[in-house]
């Protein structure tokens, strides 16, 4: 099961990298945006791996806490970067 998770995470990581590439072609990203997008995406992917690992070892609470702590932090960072990029685009 963990092996399948690693495979899935590999595919997801590839997908995320491609999406970041597409974004960077449309919008010029500064270092802050790049850092935020990479950190946010990494945290979300990490939370998925953490949660699956915790469920497999039989500690579901660790899985939910992992999603809450790492996944939510990732989503918050991605939202902030998204907002920053929208403002930048709107502002010309």
């Amino acid at each position: 099961m963990m092996a399948f998770t690693w495979y899935l995470l590999g595919v997801l990581t590839g997908g995320v990298a491609y999406v970041l590439y597409l974004i960077s072609r449309k919008i010029t990203l500064n270092w802050l945006s790049w850092s935020g997008l990479i950190a946010g995406s990494s945290l979300v992917l990490f939370s998925i791996a953490w949660a699956v690992g915790s469920v497999l070892e039989g500690v579901p609470r660790a899985a939910s806490m992992g999603i809450l702590l790492f996944g939510l932090s990732g989503v918050v960072i991605l939202t902030l970067v998204g907002r920053l990029l929208t403002l930048k685009k709107g502002g010309g």
């Binding site: 791996a49 953490w50 070892e57 039989g58 992992g66």
Partner: protein
């Protein structure tokens, strides 16, 4: 001609533009900025690589030429008659030392005047793990059966004896199956590798090889079945030079049911595996022509030997914490006269620093036997010689009141395991715990205290949890 001239002009223009680019202050600033950015990125990558190497090295343990705990001159070898389980199993020793029971009862009465019940190490021990079943999860006939069955194999291998009894069953001192010719290894390094490979085959979780150190050997040894002292010089069949230390794993899910009777199932099972491996390794060495004796909790103290063999670090709960498994291991040993081996070095993994700040085992201990204080040279819970008769002195370590631990076993009618279950190092072998281990080896003290809180927050190490008992009985569906 015209074309050639045009080409020359174009080349000249291009050269002028290039020269202009170089001399333009704006362009100069831009290339400097790029150079600076590249420099910062390079330095960052180098720092990350150096940090990664440091973490990997620390996780493998920092090697030490000497025993890693400070020892003072007042340290004396332990008399096996002063080992708690030996004393508790010996009528002769209890009769000889009534002051020990008296002093302990005085303390118990002082601590709990209302609920005080007289306690006697030998008499109460006779009914251990044989009391009535209880109407509580983890204390039924089912869990008692698991516990007794778990221990049965170890007892059979030891000829019905206890883990502390020397010269019995698999750990017999008779040198049976000893080959006449001694096998010559190509090098000490190869000898060590071959012995460890054999240990792996027999089921060892980890194996380390260290020099025999008389400081950690009981002197004298004591056989409480025959109520007799045993001497290294007079009774032991040879002069040991080397001690091979073996670790066997206890099951995470069974240990999670601590302190119920269920956890005894994995304690007994790991004892059985540990003594089986030691017994097989003993025969392996004898077949190579070298004398060897297997040992469980007899002959010498397991913890310092495991530390000296580089298998782990001494923890607050008095046990050895080994990387990946924490204290969830049982230790056995093989004493041999074979010494042409490459000895392992003691290693430290940052456990001592973590234990200073964590204290989770002490908080989870139902009898408050584990100290909440810092390491000391001697016990801090009492200075009465009749009370601290079992304690070692002269080693800077955590001193715990083993008598209280032994009393809880009697009250519980099974052993405990709370200090193992609650330890943040006790985790199944999953990748994310290695990640936490990696940061623990470099993080300073306050971070360790934070990690302890996070461990609780994430739901690890809960003790007295009936759900863990129920969960255990469903694990069979994956078999």
């Amino acid at each position: 001609m015209v074309t050639e001239k045009n080409e020359k002009d174009q080349v000249q223009d291009s050269s002028d533009q290039s020269s202009e680019k170089k001399t333009n202050p704006q362009n100069l600033n831009h290339s400097r900025r790029r150079f600076l950015k590249l420099g910062i990125a390079g330095a960052g990558a180098a720092m990350a690589a150096a940090g990664g190497i440091t973490i990997i090295r620390r996780m493998e343990g920092i090697p030490h030429d000497e025993f890693p705990l400070p020892i003072r001159d007042e340290f004396k070898r332990i008399d096996q008659r002063n080992q708690i389980n030996v004393f508790a199993n010996s009528k002769a020793l209890n009769d000889k030392h009534p002051e020990r029971n008296r002093s302990f009862n005085t303390q118990l009465q002082k601590e709990n005047p209302q609920g005080f019940k007289p306690f006697h190490f030998y008499e109460t021990r006779q009914t251990f793990m044989a009391g009535p079943y209880r109407d509580a999860t983890g204390y039924s006939q089912l869990e008692r059966a698991l516990a007794v069955a778990g221990f049965s194999s170890a007892r059979q291998q030891l000829g019905g004896g206890s883990m502390e009894a020397p010269d019995s069953g698999v750990s017999s001192w008779k040198q049976e199956l000893l080959a006449k010719n001694q096998f010559r290894f190509n090098s000490p390094k190869e000898a060590t590798l071959n012995i460890k490979s054999a240990a792996r085959l027999f089921g060892a979780l980890r194996c380390g090889i260290t020099k025999r150190d008389k400081r950690w050997d009981y002197d004298p040894m004591y056989d409480f079945y025959k109520e007799r002292e045993l001497s290294w010089e007079r009774d032991f069949p040879f002069d040991p030079k080397t001690v091979i230390v073996i670790m066997a794993e206890m099951d995470y899910h069974t240990m999670a049911a601590a302190p119920s009777w269920m956890q005894d199932g994995t304690v007994g099972d790991a004892y059985a595996n540990a003594i089986k491996i030691a017994g097989q390794l003993t025969i392996f060495l004898r077949q190579l022509g070298y004398q060897a004796v297997a040992s469980m909790n007899d002959l010498g103290i397991n913890a310092p030997y495991a530390i000296a063999a580089g298998l782990g670090e001494g923890a607050r709960n008095g046990q050895v914490i080994t990387p990946k498994y924490g204290p969830r291991v049982r230790i056995s040993k093989v004493y041999t006269d074979f010494d042409l081996v490459e000895y392992d070095k003691a290693r430290t993994f940052g456990v001592a620093s973590f234990c200073l700040n964590c204290k989770r085992c002490a908080n989870s201990c139902p009898s408050k036997a584990i100290t909440l204080g810092d390491p000391s040279w001697e016990p801090t819970y009492s200075t009465d010689p009749d009370y601290i008769w079992h304690a070692s002195r002269g080693v800077l370590k955590f001193h715990n009141d083993a008598k209280k631990c032994a009393k809880f076993w009697i009250d519980n009618d099974g052993s405990c395991g709370n200090c193992i279950c609650s330890c943040p190092y006790n985790k199944p072998d999953f990748w994310h715990h290695r990640l936490v281990d990696a940061q623990n080896v470099i993080a300073p003290g306050p971070v360790h205290a934070f990690m302890r809180e996070m461990d609780i927050f994430f739901g690890y190490g809960k003790v007295s949890d009936p759900d863990r008992v129920k969960k255990f009985w469903k694990l069979g569906k994956s078999v």
